[in-house]
């Protein structure tokens, strides 16, 4: 018993430094910004900063715009990544090997660079429009438009999500799938009855990270997005540094935090279940 208590204290000592760091650079600022967001213009405390989010026309447009971009990006990213992960898991050949070896590289490419490349490629007189000109086609307006932000989000998130899903699919034993095939299950049936149920937890993780990443993103919408309406990340920055309204910026970031926390709740719940099941 005494030895266990000693080990417990030792464990705490190992964890405390990183937790202290976390409290200084994450938890304290979040709490500070929460109180900041409750301060109204006369110095008292109320919800006026949050009321403004829903009453101001421009702000409302920004919120709707952000949710649109986020949801569309999430749906496309997850559909493509799932397809790609399943394809890589169950196919063989040189092409697949090549994709397997390279698909993770974009995760590591700096965001500014990728965005800059996309601007040059997809811009008005960009490379792609020159190639299309050969075949007589024209490119719709992508850069400085909602489409541009979504495409940039796909670029950043598909490799990451595919990586998460691949690791989940690798855990499904071949024997399970082969025995399902032996008794005559169709491909779709195998997908919905075996692959989906065995990987839905990772699916949830992927949804959470894509959602959080897109809703709080800054670089891509800042460089590629339209002037109005804006993504909340950009409008937050503008409210903070151009209009110098710290309280309002805090309210916007807390609002996005609340949006994320809904999803975060399910994510943490499923993780905790997993952790509890550990012997």
């Amino acid at each position: 018993m005494r030895k266990e208590a000693k080990m417990g204290i030792f464990g705490l000592c190992l964890v405390i430094p990183s937790f202290l760091l976390l409290s200084v650079i994450v938890i304290t600022p979040i709490i500070l910004s929460f109180f900041e967001s409750l301060r109204n213009e006369s110095g008292g405390y109320d919800l006026s900063r949050y009321v403004y989010l829903f009453t101001d026309e421009g702000m409302r447009a920004n919120i709707v715009f952000t949710l649109q971009v986020t949801i569309v990006s999430c749906v496309i990213v997850l559909a493509v990544s799932y397809a790609l992960a399943v394809y890589m898991r169950f196919s063989t050949g040189r092409l697949v090997d090549l994709i397997r070896k390279t698909y993770m590289i974009p995760i590591f490419i700096p965001g500014v660079i990728a965005t800059y490349g996309l601007i040059n490629l997809l811009g008005n007189h960009g490379w792609l429009s020159r190639w299309l000109l050969l075949f007589g086609g024209t490119l719709p307006r992508i850069i400085f438009d909602q489409k541009g932000i979504i495409i940039a989000n796909l670029w950043f998130n598909i490799p990451f999500t595919t990586m998460l899903l691949s690791s989940a699919l690798a855990g499904i034993p071949n024997a399970v799938i082969e025995s399902a095939k032996d008794i005559g299950a169709s491909r779709l049936r195998i997908f919905f009855r075996i692959i989906m149920p065995l990987s839905y937890k990772t699916f949830l993780v992927a949804v959470t990270f894509v959602f959080m990443g897109v809703i709080g993103s800054f670089t891509a919408p800042f460089l590629v997005g339209p002037n109005a309406p804006q993504m909340l990340g950009v409008s937050m920055e503008q409210v903070f540094s151009v209009f110098q309204e710290r309280e309002q910026a805090a309210a916007i970031s807390f609002f996005t935090f609340l949006l994320c926390s809904l999803l975060g709740y399910f994510y943490i719940r499923s993780m905790v279940k997993e952790e509890t099941a550990r012997p």
């Binding site: 995760i107 965001g111 709080g216 970031s253 935090f257």
Partner: protein, 274 residues
């Protein structure tokens, strides 16, 4: 025509189209930058530059700001990596091997780093740093960079330590090794691939970080991505392309060197508990 398609199989065609789409989408932007970097004259609607040259490389490499930013970026990235190893690896070992009160609470608290919109978090941090006098200091910048890496720098090694079989540690104990010896000669080497991947990811993440540095490190700490922001705004796109290549080179080199270690399984363990 259709007999031809049938002969090589629709599956092959599908795979080929898939690969083309994949390459155009993911490689296209980077390839475009690579071509731009070596061009001196490339007007619309030419498919390829009319003149190739290295003039922008000379230009970029001669700028003082740029050479300085490269050194600074690497210094900061190295500091961030070392500091996060020192702080996070012991915690990861504790999560994997030691029972202690509130361990689950501590493990999941790292999720907070990814749950708050980054811009909002940086803004709040800037407010706090003003009060603490950490604005425009090296320590301030390093701390901001650590936000992004804390979670996977703890979770990936945690998973790596958990994957080491306790039976191996126990048998070493049985033949008389001290706990420290067991850790040094058995647990640590077996968890090394995970720790290395996490460290590389941390290093690259720090090289890439722009928004937080922009807010906290101005005006003295101009890292490569920050210089990139101003290059995009002030110089022709060829200069931006050259600098993009310089900024991407460390990523490619490190990834090639660690190619065998970086697997989806190890990376994924940084974002979920399995």
């Amino acid at each position: 025509m259709s007999w031809y398609f049938r002969a090589i199989g629709f599956r092959k065609i599908f795979e080929f189209l898939l690969l083309v789409a994949f390459v155009v989408f993911f490689v296209g932007p980077l390839l475009n930058l690579a071509v731009l970097a070596f061009s001196s004259k490339w007007n619309y609607p030419d498919l390829l530059p009319r003149q190739w040259s290295l003039q922008w490389w000379h230009f970029v490499l001669q700028e003082d700001d740029i050479a300085k930013s490269i050194g600074l970026s690497f210094l900061i990235a190295a500091l961030v990596t070392v500091l996060s190893i020192v702080i996070c690896i012991p915690a990861a070992y504790a999560f994997a091997r030691i029972r202690f009160p509130l361990s689950r609470f501590f493990l999941f608290s790292f999720l907070l780093t990814h749950a708050f919109p980054k811009m909002g978090l940086y803004v709040s941090i800037a407010v706090l740093f003003y009060k603490l006098g950490l604005m425009n200091t090296l320590l301030g910048v390093v701390l901001v960079h650590m936000i992004n890496v804390l979670m996977f720098m703890t979770w990936i090694p945690t998973a790596a330590f958990r994957n080491v079989h306790t039976a191996q540690e126990e048998s070493a104990r049985d033949v008389g090794a001290t706990p420290f010896r067991v850790f040094r000669s058995i647990t640590l080497p077996m968890a090394m691939p995970g720790i290395l991947v996490a460290s590389i990811f941390t290093f690259l993440n720090s090289l890439d970080e722009a928004q937080g540095t922009f807010l906290v490190g101005i005006p003295d700490f101009k890292t490569m991505p920050i210089v990139m922001y101003s290059i995009i705004a002030d110089f022709p796109s060829s200069a931006g392309a050259v600098f993009s290549i310089i900024l991407t080179a460390p990523t490619i080199i490190l990834l090639l060197a660690a190619q065998r270690l970086v697997s989806a399984d190890i990376m994924a363990s940084g974002f979920q508990v399995k």
